[in-house]
Symmetry: C2
Subunit: 350 residues, 2 copies
């Protein structure tokens, strides 16, 4: 079936095996141009027989087309990003484009490096998480001359296109909902900010809206690393012991929120009456907890989908007006079982 000398096969091998020119083989393998049925069959058979796999490196160089889309995200262990990836893959599934992931671990220097690596493969487009980048990264993105979509966050000025939600607004929306339900003594639990701009913006929006309603955060705590569920549990315990009068805890993500929820349930705290809880992201993973945590859907599926579509349309239609779009999606609050159904004070109309 195969012979020993492991020299990789080339078009020439197939062309010799099938008695036609390399060009014809190339045409057959790409379904391009007119080739007679007889020739086509002959070539396909020879290719299969030999086990020929085309060399995209050479193909890409010759045709100046590399059908890859670079997708740059902070982490794979956050669940949120694999979900976006899936949506992107879905859209690109039946197109010539193919996503390739790069992971930055939330580090600016890694982002620069990963971006450089990716761009050196001359992809057809870039989808990159976040709207904050180093100057060097921005320069690279601008200079690449390919469509760029910044995703997840719209609070800022995109380089080209952006699809996401306003995290500042998300924080505000949640604060307003919490106040509207009559909660007043509010604690915030989140990640250490410098790492995560979106969490920071939610926090800012949150405090801002509280302030506007004449309230402020009564207690706050930030964590780093470790198992989020366990951290949520620990932090909640610490905070409730320190500030027993709190009546609401807002978590910067669902996992720590779930940890907090478990803690409260175990300790006989009446959720949502004594204490209300809310997280952020709306992760599917947590469906099945004893109570459903209030949260806010971050539109990950739609973000991935739209981002991929933008790249796609730009690639298919080279001359589309180079004007970038900014698409701000609207997250929805899912009240779950950890927020009172409505205000006990009717401070705001529902």
């Amino acid at each position: 079936m195969t012979d020993l000398p492991k020299r990789p096969l080339t078009l020439r091998d197939v062309s010799e095996a099938s008695g036609v020119s390399e060009m014809t083989v190339s045409r057959v393998l790409r379904n391009r141009g007119d080739v007679s049925a007889a020739t086509r069959d002959k070539v396909l058979e020879a290719a299969k027989e030999l086990g020929y796999v085309p060399n995209k490196i050479a193909g890409a160089l010759a045709s100046q087309r590399v059908n890859l889309v670079a997708v740059i995200i902070p982490s794979l262990s956050n669940m949120v990003f694999p979900e976006v990836m899936s949506a992107i893959s879905d859209v690109l599934e039946d197109t010539p484009l193919q996503p390739v992931v790069g992971v930055t671990n939330y580090k600016t220097d890694r982002e620069e490096k990963v971006l450089y690596e990716m761009l050196s493969w001359r992809p057809s487009g870039v989808i990159i998480a976040g709207i904050e980048h180093s100057d060097a990264s921005k320069a690279m993105l601008r200079g690449a001359g390919i469509p760029v979509v910044e995703i997840m966050d719209t609070d800022g000025t995109p380089i080209d296109n952006a699809v996401g939600i306003s995290h500042r607004r998300a924080g505000r929306m949640m604060a307003e909902a919490i106040i509207r339900k009559g909660y007043r003594k509010i604690g915030f639990l989140g990640t250490k900010m410098p790492l995560d701009h979106r969490a920071r913006k939610r926090f800012e929006g949150f405090t801002e809206a509280l302030a506007k309603a004449g309230h402020e955060i009564s207690d706050q705590e930030f964590y780093e690393g470790g198992s989020a569920l366990a951290k949520g549990r620990e932090m909640t315990e610490a905070m409730l012991k320190r500030s027993p009068d709190l009546d609401f805890l807002y978590y910067s993500n669902d996992m720590i929120g779930a940890g907090g929820l478990l803690y409260c349930l175990e300790n006989g705290i009446d959720v949502p009456n004594d204490v209300g809880l809310a997280g952020f992201n709306g992760v599917e993973l947590l469906k099945g907890l004893p109570k459903q945590l209030a949260t806010m859907d971050s539109c990950r599926d739609e973000i991935g989908r739209k981002a991929a579509e933008i790249i796609l349309s730009r690639v298919e239609d080279e001359d589309t007006a180079k004007g970038g779009q900014k698409i701000e999606l609207t997250p929805t609050i899912e009240r779950g079982d950890t927020m009172r159904p409505r205000s006990t004070e009717a401070a705001y109309p529902e």
Copy 2:
């Protein structure tokens, strides 16, 4: 800073800007060969000034070296695989090699397609999950003439190298531990098998060891899709209602096990005395549940690490005896809080 005509930059642009030959620029950019400090600085400055990003496509074609390692896994939403990815990335971090992921969604035809795509980029090695592949995939892997490591599973004959655990043995070990602790009426809850060979093998090993000890599975149920936590909860409820005399539930993964655990706790079932529970994988994510689910560590970190090291050594040392290795790691049982500390019947010595 940049000019309008968006023709991508080439070595020639840099060479003209710095007044040396293309070759010298190439040498500088790759730190190869002797270049005087003065020239080096001149070139680097010009490159930065222009914002030049080398074209790896051309470089790879010319040098016949593509420093990519294809990593082919079934899913990104399983947590298990991102963890393996991280380990691989860690090892390759400071080497010229770079991992590239492909996702098969547990489908054989997708695997074939993804593999073909990846191989057409002529990677330096392949790391692929599982040891079961279609004939076509096997042929491709064999024909590629590059190191291949099949990971996660060692129950079978590897194409080249394999690193993983024996899932049959893992199932057996868990069955033995369960019996040893004195449990007798055992239920199994898992995924529909055809999708997942490793889950199937654990099931087989499990039943086999039970049989050897003179027992058999008293009830079983299989699910597909949906949120694992919720599914675990539902299935547990259904099973315990149907077979109230069960005293142990073995879950094919930790997520459904956690769902079951939550169900039991809420319904006042005494875990681990009335009913013992165990899952599989040892996922970090779940640390923080009310009780720690008994599970078995699947050695994901070490698997990723070893696989990457094998590829690395083979790439660095082209002529290493082409003999593939098969590394079987030994998973360890973590008893957690959902298995009795020891047998009440002393059927086996601990």
